[in-house]
Structures are given as C-alpha cells and as structure tokens.
C-alpha cells in the first residue's frame, strides 16, 4: 500500500509505537468504547473472525476498529472479502461503516467490489428516499470503471425522482461519474440540463456545481434558468449560494453590457456635484447613447444584496466579488461594511479577505477610507495578517490621512516582530513616493531610524532611503554623508551594498568621503558577500572615472582582487569594468563612452504595491489568493460590446415565483419590447395582461403630455424621462414661496397614480427614526373608485440613500386619505430621494427633492454666541449679497415670516433694530448655519450666511434673496 509506505517513511518510530499499541491490551487511542473489549484486542487477524461471526455486535466492533485503521491511514484492504459480505446488513451503523470501507478500497479490489453492486441496485428502488439517495451516493463513489453504464442509468433515473433529496444526490453523482469517465460528458450534460430546470432549492446548488465541473462553457443552458436561479438564491443552502453566485458572475459578464461607461462622470460626482445632481443627471442622459441596465442584470444585483448579511463568510465574499465585477461603480461600496465585518472572523478568513481588500483598495481608495482604523495592526495579529494590513494602509494613504497613518507606522517600527518592522519601513518608503507632501518628513524619519539599535531596521531603512534618494537626489548630501558614517556598523549585505551604490552614484556630492569608503572596502573586500563585492567594483569604477587621481591605485587593487574571486559573476563583472574604464590599446570605441554608460542618469525605481496586478484574477478565487493561475481557473470574460439577445432568458410559462418578486424598473417604458412582453407574461399569473397593458398606456400618455408642455426646453427632457413625477415637482418649486411656512408638494398625481395621489410636506420636526434624517409627512389619498391595497415603498435610489419607510398600508378605501411619516437622510444635499411607491398592482417612481432650507433645523442661541460663532466662520465659509427688499417686507415680522418660509431656522433675539439674525444647523452633519440680514436706509439690505457648507450657503442665499424680493 502506497499510503502505508509513505506513512512509515515519515515517522517510523511513531508507526512502531502505534503497532505496539495494537498488540497490547492497553490502548489509549481507541478509547473507552473499546476499552471494555480490550481482551480481544489482538492482531488484525481476529478482525476477520469477528466479521465472519454471527454476532452483530462483534461485526460492528470489528468495523469500528477497521475505520480506526483507515483514519490513521493504515491499510486494511486485505479484509475486503470479509467486509463486503456485510454490505446487506440490517444494522444501519454497520452498513454505513461498510460503505465507508467500500468507498475507500473499491478502487483497489474492483472484482470483489462488484459483489456489492446488486445490493445497491436493489436499494435504488427502495420506497424510502433516504435509502435510495444513500445507495446512489455509495454506488457513484465506487470508482470502478466497469459499472459506468449502471451508474449512468442510476443517475438518469434519480434525476427524475420525485424526492428533491434524491435529485440532489444525482447532481453530485454526475460529477463523480464525469471524473471517472469523461466520455460520458454528452449524456451527463443532458441530465444537467434537465436538473437545471428543477425548481427545488435543494437541487439548485448541487446542479450548478455539476455544471461548473462538467460543462462550464455551456452558458446557453443557463439562459432559461437565469431568472429562476436569481429568485431562488436567498433560499438555497449557503454552500450552494457560493457556487451559484460565482457562476452567475461569469454569466452576467457574457450577457450584459458594461455598467461602468455610464458612471465615468458620476465617479467624482460623489464629491463634486452633490448639490447640482440635476445637471449631472442631465449630462449623463444626454450622452449619445444612454446606458440602461438590463433588468435581468439589476435582478441579480438586487437578489444577491441581502446575502451580504449571511453568517457564512464565503457567501459574503462571493457577493462582494459579484458587486465588484458587475455593479455600477457607485454601488460597489455597499459591500465595504460587510467585508470589514469579516475581519472579525477567524485568522484564516481575515487573511483571504484582507488579500481581496488589498486588491480592491488599489483601484478604489474611497471604498475603504472610512474604515481605515479597522486595518490598524494589533500586536496579536499573525505576521502575514500584519503585512496585509500594512499593504492596505499604504494603499489608502492620501494627503488627508497620511499623518495618522505615519503615526501608526511609527509605532509599528518599534514592534518586536522584526520582519514586520522591516515591512513597515518599506511601507513608509512607498508613502513617501506616492505622496509628495510627506516625502521629506518620511525621509527624515527614516534617517532617524538609522540610529536604531536593531540591525534589520537599520538595514531596511538604508535600502528604502536609497530608493527615495534616487527619486530626488538634490540637496541630500547630508544624508549620504550620514550613511557613510554608519557604514562600519552595518553588517546586513543588502544595506551595505545600497550604501556603496549611493556613494558611487552621488560621488560628486561627497568627493572626500567616497574615496575613503573605497579604501575601507579594499581592506575587507575578500570577506564581503557577493552583492557587496559587486557594488564595490561599481563604486571603484565610478570613482575612477570622476576622481582617478585619488583612486586609481585603489581601483586597480580591487579589480585585481575581483579577477580571482571565486564567484564567476564577480570575475565577469571585474573583467568587463576593467575593459570599460582602463584605456589600453585593445579597448575599442566603448571606453570613450565609459563615463556616459556608468554615470548615466538612472530612472528611479517605482515602489509599487505587490497587489498591483492581482486584479487580473477574479476576486475571491484561489488564483487571486495565490497570485498564480490555479488548475481549473476560469477567466472572467470581459463585457461584450453589444449585449447578446436578451429574449433568450424569457420563459414561456413563467413560474409563479417570478411573477411575485419581479418588480418593474422605473424606466420600463424605455426598455425593449421583449421586456415588456415578459412583464405581461409574468403579470398574467396575477392580475391579467389587460390590466398591465392599460397601465403602460397610461404612462405613455403622461410622457407625451410632458413633451407637449415643455417642447422648447430641450435640456430638461432627459430628467423627465427617468422619473415621470419630477414634472409635478418642478411646477411646484416655482410657486413654493407664495405658500405659508408649511408648504405641501405633490409627490404623485392621481392621474399618474391611477387613483392614488400623494402629497408631502416637511413638518420641520426632529425625525423620530434617526436624528440625521429629515422628517417628511406624506398624505396618501385614494381618488379612485376601488380600494387600494398594500401601499408601501419599493426600490430606492441612490442605493446609499437611507430612508425610513412607513409601514405598509394594508387597505385604503376610495376617497379616504391617510398621513404617514417617513424619515430621509439627505446627507445635507439637495439630491433627490427617488423611490417607488407601490400598491398591490402597481409601482410608481416618485422623488422627493428638498429645498435647501428644509435640510436645516432651527437652533436657539444668544446674540453673543451668534457673533462668536460668526467670527469663526469667516472667509471661505461666508457668503453674502446685497439684496433689494420688497416694500412689503420692511417690518421685522414680515422678514421673519419670509425667512422662516424658506428655511427652518430659529430667530436670534437682536439688540439692534436694523439687524435680523437666524441660526440653524444642518440635519445630517450638524454644521452651524448662521443667517444675518442688515437693513440699510433704502430698500436694500446685506444678507450674509456663514456656514462650513459653502454650497448650501450659496443655495440658501439664492432662495432667501428670492423670497425677500417678493411681497
């Protein structure tokens, strides 16, 4: 037995001990259960007798011992005939142990194994599904080529079994048969195709696994099952989820167009264009060919998102990689929090997750920047975890956080773990090259480390300093001198070589020291490491060219030593250098250029992340983890330029489950006809197709209506396209100022909403759900003639938007209305909150865009405090304008009324008559907003707004100006 032999090779002594234990009655390793039977604990000979005895208990005892032998990796194959007789035993445990044995040894005793086949064939017909399943399991695990046809038949039968558990087993058996006999591929694919149609969650994971093993390239088998798989996903067992998600990632990459082109502009819109998202939207929409995400693509993203909360780390990672590879760029960041959560898990999990974060953080710093503290190294971390965290911290470093990161690094350098300290120094070097602001600070810091007591720290610092100096060699003569002084104390070869190289390269900056270093080197040359010797030769050559008067003899001496060195590299180099620099009759044209060759300006080495090119592998894969292509790795295909036909995914008779969870997109009237058809198809299971077609007709009508209304206003059209409701919103914003402090805006018109109308207003109360939310009250009215059911909020966008929805309203009678409150976190931006208002039958996309004044809450303060705070918010934080007041607004009450109608601010009692002051805070970030109005003699006034949020200030200024100018 090969295993037995290798075992003995590894631990002969151990094996002897084990053997001894078997022969002695006092075995410690077999435990209490066998302890009572210790008397008959002899050589393996008795096992055969036991197996052939009539007593069930003896047989069982024998099998237990045999399993013990197998577990230890010892051979028990000679017992095969005796064991196989028991395969038909009535005792379940005995039977199971015989199965274990069979699966282990059948390959070696093929003829004897055939004896058991008839038992399994009988069991495959058993009325009990578990017996059928386990028979198939064992039958397919016996790797005996003769029974391939029997296996094939059994698999085909089991795939049509009524029990989903048996069908699941057959999916597993497919892979086993395929590995035993790849020629069966075609037939097996047929079975896979059949099983893919299975609607049981039990089967889904296993059959996709079989698909991945047998025919991963047959993407066409997935089309019809795509939507079903997406919808089943949440209920599939966790292991199956991982497999399905990674398969669907690949599928989506072949079937949908890239969502990334669209977002090129929106990438920086996160920071830049918070306050004019409207214009941004317009820009995107007016692009030559607007990107519309395939609804199936969206379906996948939506259905995988909840799995980010799975307890299974592999599932979370699978979803994270799916989002990374498939989601529009601005949606990827929703996976961040879950990934960071995984860092609390076991060390091995951390290792893999950190590797993936390292790759992600190179491309998308912003994703992980808010969580930078989670990557701080703890002294208890394992070294490879520490190094990965260091890598991520370095990737995340930017101008804003570099000082904190460097402070962290400073503590790491002092770590006991010297390998880690050295890695930290490398990291400091990388920060220094990446962020020019801190280059000098880092360099100085590294120089300070040169006096560290630990040699590895010093050596690593030298190597890094060398690289840094190369990037900017000017005015660093001091440091080079300093390093020259250190030279005697440094023993690490790499560091010595680095110093020598620096001396040579910048020998003109240290004209006095360099020859002296060379002199010292000449003394110790023979005792140095090879790398140091090579650099000594280099230094000698460079000095010979620049300062031959002082160093000619030294150089010749070193070249002579090198000539007889044991290492042929050094001999070669010496020979080459000698020919190059020492002029003689034989040397050709080359020596003329010696100076230009040796002292050419050299490009600085780039200090790059080790994870820079890891993104060529799909995230979360073994290949990514190892940074080399693993066997069986499937390349993630690039997006197709043109999406293949979408209709292939349509299912003629859609499953009820599809109809239930399918939610039409807001842009559904612009999607293709196929999609429309599909929509109707799925609806037919519910309300009937007549209804749905009339609904789209109504919506088309409203679109047309909009176009008539603003025919000349071309630039605005795209906005209307995406959300039909923004039209109504627009018309109200114009007239807002004429209302009292409580203005009501229309959310959904009853024409558009098929009877459901919604209005909203800002009650200007602190939000109950979360302090950072703005409270919104929505009045829902049913103006139709039938009751509306299940009114609730559906999809929201942008995805990052935090909305506290109202509870579902079960039923709204005709003519009735109900007021519900919501909370929306606008994050201090006037970006509209888009969401879907859903009834049982319909979804309506609506949006709430707050006026800037509603993003504030009133705060009370005294006049002194006001002036003090105002003093702090000068310069950039101040916006002011001279405005003309309407005559009606001369009185203080009138001013208060106008200001309060625009913004939710509190009046500050004022001692001066011509001054009005108001104070407020932004709801989300609690930034102070101070408004002051100084009246002058005429109808003019100076309006000043002080706040950190300068964009808000200018918007508020506009709004106030408008309000005060109106009567």
């Amino acid at each position: 037995m090969s295993t037995g032999v290798s075992y003995n090779d590894q631990g002969g002594a151990e094996a002897a001990v084990e053997a001894g234990q078997e022969s002695t009655p006092t075995s410690s390793s077999t435990g209490a259960a066998f302890g009572l039977f210790s008397a008959d604990f002899k050589k393996n000979e008795d096992l055969k007798e036991m197996l052939e005895s009539n007593k069930e208990s003896l047989k069982l005892e024998a099998m237990k011992r045999i399993v013990g032998l197998i577990a230890k990796g010892k051979s028990a194959s000679e017992l095969f005939p005796a064991v196989v007789k028991n395969v038909a035993s009535k005792n379940i445990e005995l039977k199971k142990l015989v199965y274990v044995y069979l699966v282990r040894y059948a390959e070696k005793q093929q003829d004897l194994a055939l004896l058991s086949i008839s038992t399994f064939q009988r069991a495959l017909k058993d009325p009990n599904q578990f017996i059928r399943a386990s028979a198939l399991r064992v039958l397919s695990s016996i790797r005996v080529p003769i029974i391939v046809p029997i296996m094939m038949l059994a698999i085909k039968e089991a795939a049509a079994d009524l029990s989903p558990y048996v069908r699941k087993t057959s999916a597993h058996a497919i892979q086993k048969l395929y590995s035993l006999d790849p020629d069966q591929k075609e037939q097996l694919i047929e079975v896979i195709e059949k099983l893919l149609k299975d609607k049981s969650t039990l089967v889904a994971g296993s059959v996709v696994m079989a698909f991945e093993e047998v025919c991963p390239d047959r993407i066409d088998l997935i089309h019809k099952n795509y939507r079903k798989l997406c919808n089943l996903l949440v209920d599939v067992e966790e292991w199956g989820q991982v497999v399905i998600i990674s398969m669907l990632t690949r599928y989506a990459r072949t079937q949908f167009t890239s969502p990334w082109t669209e977002v090129r502009g929106a990438e920086f819109d996160e920071n830049k264009a918070f306050y004019d998202s409207d214009s941004e939207e317009k820009k995107d929409q007016t692009e030559a060919k607007p990107y519309i995400m395939d609804p199936d693509h969206r379906l996948l993203l939506r259905n995988t998102k909840p799995l980010l909360q799975s307890r299974n780390t592999a599932v979370v990672m699978a979803v994270a990689q799916l989002y990374w590879h498939l989601a529009p760029k601005h949606e990827v960041s929703i996976v961040t929090k879950s990934l960071v959560r995984l860092l609390r898990s076991h060390r091995e999990v951390q290792y893999i997750v950190l590797q993936n974060i390292a790759t992600m953080s190179i491309q998308r710093k912003g994703m992980f920047e808010p969580f930078i503290k989670s990557f701080y190294v703890r002294s208890t971390d394992a070294t490879h975890i520490k190094t990965l965290k260091l890598e991520i911290l370095t990737n995340l470093a930017n101008e804003a956080n570099i000082s904190t990161i460097l402070r962290e690094f400073q503590t790491y350098v002092k770590s006991q773990d010297k390998a880690f300290a050295a890695a930290t120094i490398q990291a400091i070097g990388r920060c220094a090259t990446n962020i020019s602001e801190v280059t000098d600070t880092c360099l100085n810091g590294l120089v300070l480390l040169l006096s560290n007591r630990d040699e590895t720290v010093v050596a690593e610092s030298i190597v890094v300093i060398k690289k840094l100096l190369q990037t900017q060699p000017t005015q660093h003569g001091d440091i080079i001198k300093h390093m020259a002084k250190l030279f005697d104390n440094v023993t690490v070869p790499m560091a010595r070589a680095s110093i020598l190289w620096l001396m040579g390269e910048y020998c003109e900056k240290v004209p006095k020291i360099a020859p002296d270093v060379l002199r010292k080197m000449a003394k110790t040359f023979t005792a140095e490491e090879d790398i140091v010797k090579l650099q000594t030769v280099n230094l000698a050559a460079k000095l010979y060219l620049t300062n031959s008067k002082q160093t000619k003899l030294l150089t010749q001496y070193i070249l002579n030593l090198g000539k007889y060195d044991q290492n042929y590299d050094i001999r070669d180099r010496t020979r080459f250098i000698r020919q190059l620099i020492v002029p003689n009759e034989k040397s050709g044209a080359l020596s003329k250029y010696a100076r230009r060759i040796l002292l050419a300006p050299k490009p600085a080495p780039g200090l790059e992340s080790a994870f820079k090119d890891r993104d060529r592998y799909q995230l979360g894969t073994l290949s990514h983890s190892l940074n080399l292509k693993a066997t069986g790795y499937q390349e993630l295909p690039d997006w197709p330029a043109v999406a293949p036909d979408q209709s292939v995914r349509n299912v003629e008779i859609s499953a009820p489950i599809v109809g239930k969870t399918k939610q039409p997109k807001s842009d559904k009237f612009y999607s293709d006809d196929e999609d429309e058809k599909e929509e109707e198809g799925s609806d037919s299971s519910g309300s009937g197709s007549e209804d749905s077609s009339s609904s789209s007709e109504g919506l088309f009508l409203s679109v047309r209506f909009k176009h008539c209304l603003f025919p000349q206003n071309d630039s605005k059209k795209p906005t209307f396209r995406t959300s039909g409701i923004s039209l109504f919103y627009m018309s109200f914003q114009v007239t807002t100022s004429s209302f009292g402090p409580l203005k009501t805006y229309e959310l959904l018109h009853h024409m558009t909403g098929k009877g459901l109308s919604a209005k909203y207003h800002f009650p200007r109360q602190p939000c109950l759900y979360q302090p950072s939310m703005v409270a919104v009250q929505v009045i829902l009215t049913n103006s139709s003639d039938h009751a509306l059911e299940e009114i609730h909020i559906g999809d929201q966008s942008p995805a990052s938007l935090n909305i506290h929805c109202f509870n579902t309203i079960e039923r709204l009678e005709p003519g009735a209305s109900v007021t519900v409150s919501m909370g929306i976190d606008f994050s201090d931006s006037t970006q509209a909150a888009n969401f879907q208002l859903c009834t049982k039958e319909d979804q309506f996309s609506v949006s709430i865009q707050p006026a800037v004044g509603e993003l504030l809450m009133a705060s009370t303060m005294t006049e002194q405090d006001f002036c003090k705070e105002q003093g702090k918010l000068q310069g950039m934080n101040e916006a002011s304008a001279t405005i003309t007041m309407a005559t009606a607004n001369a009185s203080r009450q009138a001013i208060n009324k106008q200001v309060l109608s625009v913004a939710n601010v509190g009046e500050v009692p004022s001692s001066q008559n011509n001054f009005s002051r108001f104070a407020g805070q932004t709801v989300s970030s609690r930034a102070l907003v101070l408004v002051s109005l100084e009246l002058s003699e005429s109808s003019g006034a100076l309006l000043t707004i002080n706040t950190e949020k300068s964009v808000m200030a200018s918007m508020l200024l506009q709004d106030l100006k408008q309000a005060l100018a109106q009567a």
Binding site: E93, L94, W239, E348, K373, Y376, S451, G620
Partner: protein, 439 residues
C-alpha cells in the same frame, strides 16, 4: 472541491485522514511541514499553500491543523469556512475539540465527515440534521452501546433535510418550553497613554438556546434596532422582514445556535467602561525601573466591572518585578517576561493599583519600548452599545413559552498602547544631534 482532509497535531503527526474522492498520499503534507518550519509561530503558517499538483488550505484551531487538499480552483473562503464548521461540529459533539477527543471518537468523527461532504461538496452541515443522523456520544450511551451492541447512528432517517426549514428537525417535544437569548458584546479598543480612544468597536452576538415544542415562529424586536446596521444572520432569519421592519422573524433551530452577530463600528461613539493610569519608566544607566498602574471604572452605568485581568509583555531587559498589588494577585514570568495581574472586581471607592519596581539586566541599555497593556473584564447585565430587546413573540404554537434574556459585556482585544505623541515628523535638529553622536 475538497479532496481530502488531514488532521495534524502540534508535534507534526498526521493522526487522521479522510478522503472523499480517490486517495491522496499523505506525503502531500510534506509541503505543509515545510511551510510550518519556515513560520516562526504556529499562527504564521500561510492558510493557502500551493504544491505542484494540489493546493493545501489549512486552519489552525485548538492546536490542531485541519489541512484540506484541493485539486482545482475553488473560493478559498469556501474551504476555510467549511473547515471551521467541521471544528464547530466536533466541539458541539464532544464538548472539546482536542486530539484525544477526536481519537477517542474516531468512528463518530468518520461518520460525521462522511455526512458533511459528498464528493467534496458540503451536504449536511446543520447541527440539527447531523444530530439526527448521528447521535452525539454521551457516557451513558457509550455504556449502553457497548453492552447492548446498539449504535449511535440514528434509527430514524432525518426529515429536516426535506422540509422548508432545513435547519430544524420535526417532531420536537419538550415538557418545559423555554427560549433564552444571551446578548454578549465584546469591546475591541486601542487606547493611547493619555486615555483617548484611538479605535473602539463593539462586536456583539445574540446566542440563543431555544427548546420549544413543534414549529414555533418567533419574532424578536428591539428597542433601538438602528444600532444594528451591520449584522449577519443565521440562515433562519427572514431577510425581507428585517429590511422592511427591522424585526427578526425566524423559525429557530432546536437547541443552541447563534442567531445574529453584529458590529458597532468605530465610527459610532463607543463607551469605554474602564480607564487605566499607568506610568512605566526606565532610566538610562540605572538597573531599576518604576512601575505604577491604577485601574478605574467609567461609563459603566452603575454596573460592577468583574473578572478584571491585566497582562503586559514587559521588555526583554527586565529581569524581575517586585510589585505590590492593592488587591488580587500578580505573577511575572521571568522567561516570557509576561506580567499578569488578576484583579477581580473593581471597587469604585478603592481603586485597584499595582506599584513597585522592576530590576533590569545590569549594564544593559535602557529598553527602548514601553509595554502594551492588555485588559480583560466582564460586566454583567449590560450591553455596552445600549442594545435592548423589546419583546419576543411566538406564533404557530399554542403553549406559553418561558422567555429569558441576558446581557453581558466583555473586553475583546482591549489594549492600552504606550504612546501618545502625535506624529510631528522627525525634526532636523534631532537629525544633526544623531550625527553628532556618531562622531
């Protein structure tokens, strides 16, 4: 997927092997041993090791390496997660997961592994189902089995795998119906010398012990669910209900399970329940160092801080410590230089302190690092994040269950780091001084 599994103990012996496909020679573990030799600490063995024909993915728990042999591309986390699940199952079955326990129960272990994977793909990993297939060994059952020859393999075949709730077995019966929930929070924090928090976060779990008859459908609601914005659930929890209403709705597995784990991140404000004042100094040229450390409670909402244990790795140069604790006992291991002080309960009226001197190696230079201080503690009846369960309702069954909830806060990785100097850069004057020293 998973081809074979080898269990390797701390001394490097393979004491168990299991193959799910054809047999892989155990010589493949030589590559693992090589990596193990290269690693300085047992934890430093890389979890993923490539070999010419296979890939080894390993986890280390309870001083046992679980090494899985993989032949082709598979998400590494898939394997790692599974291996941890195996360890959890062993622990569940045998109480401990040690080499001795595994060897004693080698047959049960084999049966378990056989059920957990089919052809290398996970089949049954839910503890409820496994327990129906293979009964956990108890002393009584072992005795009975050996005498009567009966087995620990379930006589009845499991039903759970087929039901819509694959994590719960059917036909559960109890005379006392009870459901207990433990909210346990761990604070991970790094605090600098001046007492300001560098990072602090809370890791919480809700562990449940549910012994209810039939198919109960539970809903658990919180007073302040918005605290839970970063959660992971047991598969029984209904995602949709949570997203819409922030209510945990689930049909529980039978017995003990982890319902939920959550993370209150460093961006939120985390209350730190203890503070430490310490002053550890070494002087140049002197062979004595001074040690002074005082503990005190803060932000504990009146609850007592218990089971406090302070530990610190003193610098290598320290030979011995002669300290005087105001309460509890301390030990100093002169070999590992580990100082531990078992404080017990903190009395807010009389704060515990540990003072004294440390003797240094004569002639050795002043240690250049200050030690990091690790603290462990427990606070009963309080969840530091402020999370509170509002109510637990049961549907689907008629009886009235007994319900209980317990809160506890513990220290996780709670460190006091010795530095508080902000990074000011290294000034050039220092640099010139250094050069001076070198002359």
């Amino acid at each position: 997927m998973i081809h074979s599994l080898f269990l390797i103990n701390a001394s490097g012996d393979i004491f168990l092997e299991k193959h799910w496909k054809s047999v892989v020679s155990r010589s493949v573990c030589d590559y693992f041993f090589e990596a193990q030799e290269r690693a300085t600490e047992p934890e430093n063995v890389p979890p993923v090791i490539p070999t010419p024909h296979h890939y080894l993915i390993s986890v280390l728990r309870h001083h046992i390496y679980f090494v899985a042999v993989i032949q082709s591309e598979v998400p590494p986390l898939f394997v790692i997660e599974f291996l941890h699940r195996v360890v959890d199952t062993f622990q569940d079955y045998f109480g401990v997961c040690t080499e001795a326990a595994i060897k004693d129960n080698v047959v049960v272990v084999y049966e378990l592994l056989e059920e957990m994977l089919d052809n290398g793909f996970p089949l049954a990993t839910e503890s409820n189902i496994l327990k129906e297939l293979i009964k956990p060994p108890t002393i009584l059952r072992t005795m009975v089995n050996t005498i009567t020859g009966s087995t620990n393999v379930g006589e009845q075949l499991p039903t759970g795998q087929l039901s819509v709730v694959p994590w719960r077995r059917t036909g559960v019966k109890y005379t006392n119906n009870e459901a207990y929930f433990d909210v346990v929070e761990e604070i991970d924090a790094i605090i600098d010398k001046s007492g300001s928090t560098i990072t602090a976060e809370i890791q919480g779990v809700i562990d449940a012990c549910v012994k209810l008859t039939g198919m109960p459908d539970l809903t658990l609601s919180f007073m302040n669910p918005r605290l839970l914005d970063d959660v992971s659930f047991h598969p029984c929890v209904r995602f949709k209900r949570w997203e819409a209403e922030r209510i945990l709705s689930f049909i529980p597995p039978d017995g003990n399970f982890r319902l939920l784990s959550y993370h209150v991140s460093s961006q939120n404000l985390v209350a730190i329940p203890v503070y430490v004042k310490h002053n550890i100094t070494f002087r140049e040229g002197s062979s004595q160092g001074r040690f002074d450390l005082t503990l005190g409670p803060k932000q504990t909402m009146g609850k007592a801080v218990e089971s406090v244990l302070v530990s610190s790795q003193l610098p290598r140069g320290v030979l011995n410590a002669n300290l005087n604790p105001s309460q509890g006992t301390y030990t100093f291991d002169p070999v590992t230089k580990l100082l531990t002080w078992d404080v017990g309960k903190i009395n807010p009226q009389k704060l515990p302190s540990l003072k004294g001197t440390m003797s240094l190696q004569a002639g050795a230079s002043k240690p250049d690092e200050n030690p990091t201080i690790n603290i462990q503690f427990k606070i009963q009846q309080m969840a530091i994040s402020g999370l509170k369960v509002n109510r637990l309702d049961m549907y689907g069954e008629k009886y009235k269950p007994f319900k209980g909830i317990k809160y506890m806060t513990k220290a996780g990785k709670f460190q006091i780091c010795p530095y508080n100097t902000p990074f000011t850069g290294f000034s050039l004057t220092v640099l010139t001084n250094q050069i001076h020293v070198f002359r």
